[in-house]
């Protein structure tokens, strides 16, 4: 009896081992394509980043020079400063708005929520090219924004928003706010509805007001959603390309240049291929670090 059952186990195990080889066969095509298109170029990016190459003639080894230029080249350095500003608009502002609305809205189900959710998600499904056009018109010299400012007598504030050295970057940032806040809201609202009602009852028993209740119950309960929202929006800010390319091309001057736009220019316009690869490597590393750090923080007690 015991012998026969152990024989079955052995047979099952060998069957299991065989299916794992079959499994590898099934996964071969997806894995192969993934390796070819993502992993190999990723390794090559590292390799390229140590060379100086114009894309045509022979390349020369330059060691870490391309990475050093992140510090020495003021224009390249400034792109990361711009990213910090964009993070404020893409990540912090939408998340604050999302939390505020999640706190204001009572946690009871109401009719009509589906319609609102549909509206809040609308910017997520629109291609950024179209979003860029929508806002290019709004910010235009005689667009709705300036018309509104003039209508209320604030003529002196009316300006060519996207052509202004000071205002172009915040104006771009607000587009990001518009795109992401609905997503954050829906995420947080669905998160709060998953918090156990007993926690709120307990907080109320302890005499907590709405503000204390928010900080003691809602915010800790949304930790997972916060991590997701932060990761997605911060990486989106870091990777901004389409919006800038369509609206300002990084200008006026270099006042709205982002790392991705700098990469595109270096890779395909006046080729400094090695530098472009280095920018790509740094961006990828930052994305990875951001994701890991935020996940770690959110899981810590």
């Amino acid at each position: 009896m015991a012998a026969s059952s152990s024989a079955t186990v052995v047979r099952r195990r060998s069957l299991r081992r065989r299916t794992r080889w079959v499994g590898l066969g099934f996964a071969a095509l997806p894995l192969g394509l993934y390796a070819l298109v993502v992993l190999v170029p990723l390794a090559q990016s590292f390799q390229y980043s140590f060379f100086k190459w114009d894309g045509v003639t022979a390349s020369t080894w330059v060691g870490f020079d391309n990475y050093v230029s992140f510090v020495t080249d003021p224009v390249l350095r400034s792109t990361f400063g711009h990213v910090l500003v964009l993070i404020g608009f893409f990540a912090l502002l939408p998340i604050a708005l999302g939390l505020l609305s999640a706190a204001l809205l009572t946690r009871a189900k109401q009719p009509g929520m589906a319609v609102y959710r549909w509206i809040f998600f609308l910017p997520q499904v629109m291609t950024t090219v179209v979003i860029a056009l929508v806002f290019k018109r709004i910010y235009a010299p005689d667009g709705p924004l300036n018309t509104a400012l003039r209508a209320v007598g604030l003529d002196s504030f009316a300006k060519t928003w996207l052509g202004d050295f000071t205002w172009a970057l915040p104006a771009l940032g607000l587009i990001g706010t518009w795109v992401t806040f609905g997503f954050c809201m829906v995420l947080f609202i669905s998160g709060t509805s998953a918090i156990a009602p007993e926690l709120y009852e307990a907080a109320r028993m302890d005499g907590a007001g709405p503000v204390r209740e928010f900080f003691a119950v809602t915010l800790p309960g949304l930790r997972g959603q916060l991590a997701v929202a932060l990761t997605l929006t911060i990486t989106a800010a870091l990777r901004t390309f389409d919006l800038v390319w369509i609206t300002t091309h990084g200008g006026p001057g270099t006042s709205t240049l982002t790392p991705a736009v700098a990469l595109y220019k270096a890779a395909f316009q006046n080729p400094q291929v090695g530098l472009a690869a280095a920018i790509g490597v740094v961006m990828a590393a930052l994305c990875l670090v951001i994701a890991v750090v935020i996940t770690r923080l959110s899981e810590r007690d």
């Binding site: 190999v40 990723l42 609308l122 629109m126 709004i138 389409d242």
Partner: protein, 270 residues
């Protein structure tokens, strides 16, 4: 359960925020319908529906939309197939070395296009694959593998194990089991994958901008060129924008639940 005032406050907050989202889009639609080249909004009776036809013709959208559609359809079909194969392998069969291989696949969801675009372009150039539609399809497919595999693996793992066991008893091979049982049972997840994959491919701008030129331009890139040329004709520019946004918006209107739940689930698990 909640008081009437609370209910009213809820609606006021929601409506205010919804208007913030809708106002820019609404004003864009109005300017697309304006007979005036500045895009000044007009009354319903004066709507210039002809703007769409003019923009379509002037931007040569029939070619660009066809290119985008071909790419999107092939990529969606391919991505679903790759997702099914990979998801079934990692989720049901098990894979030799999956302790190493699966994390590598997951890593792909965090690798941004920027990290690979430069070598990708110069390597593809050596093989004559730049500015070709098969070339860009290949890239979309390879980059889509991590999400497709991750998504379908989760779907297959959620299926009851007993179904697989009884099918195994009946002597079904792994391929037949995938085709006749696992895939049909995972239909809801497949539909979501189709919608998300179509949206991502159609909305892509960066990859198309780098790889496709001239006659091979996708709709998003063609729109970018068009708006650069028609800076002063805002009504046509807006009409062109709506044409390019239309396919995904139409899908979003019909399949809104799948879109929203898919994007939320995809984001949370990432």
């Amino acid at each position: 359960m909640i008081s009437k005032t609370e209910r009213v406050v809820n609606y006021v907050v929601l409506t205010f925020l919804a208007l913030l989202v809708l106002f820019p889009i609404g004003s864009f639609i109005l300017s697309a319908l304006s007979p005036d080249r500045s895009g000044k909004p007009v009354g319903v009776g004066d709507f210039a529906w002809g703007n769409f036809a003019t923009a379509w013709r002037d931007a040569d959208f029939s070619r660009a939309m066809a290119v985008s559609m071909i790419i999107a359809v092939v990529v969606v079909a391919g991505q679903v197939m790759l997702g099914l194969l990979g998801g079934y392998a990692f989720g049901v069969l098990g894979v030799v070395g999956d302790k190493v291989l699966f994390p590598i696949v997951l890593l792909g969801m965090m690798i941004s296009l920027e990290a690979i675009i430069v070598p990708l372009y110069y390597q593809f150039r050596t093989f004559g694959l730049t500015n070709t539609i098969p070339g860009i399809i290949l890239i979309h497919l390879g980059m889509g593998v991590p999400f497709g595999v991750f998504w379908m693996r989760a779907a297959f793992r959620a299926l009851p194990r007993s179904a697989f066991e009884s099918a195994e008893m009946d002597g079904a091979g792994p391929l037949r089991m995938l085709r006749s049982m696992a895939a049909p049972m995972a239909k809801p997840a497949i539909y979501t994958l189709i919608l998300l994959s179509f949206m991502w491919t159609w909305n892509d701008y960066f990859l198309s901008l780098v790889f496709l030129h001239g006659d091979n331009q996708t709709a998003t890139v063609a729109l970018g060129v068009f708006q650069g040329k028609y800076v002063t004709q805002i009504n046509l520019m807006a009409a062109g924008g709506l044409i390019v946004a239309a396919p995904v918006l139409a899908l979003y209107i019909v399949f809104q639940r799948k879109f929203i739940s898919g994007m939320l689930a995809g984001a949370i698990k990432e």
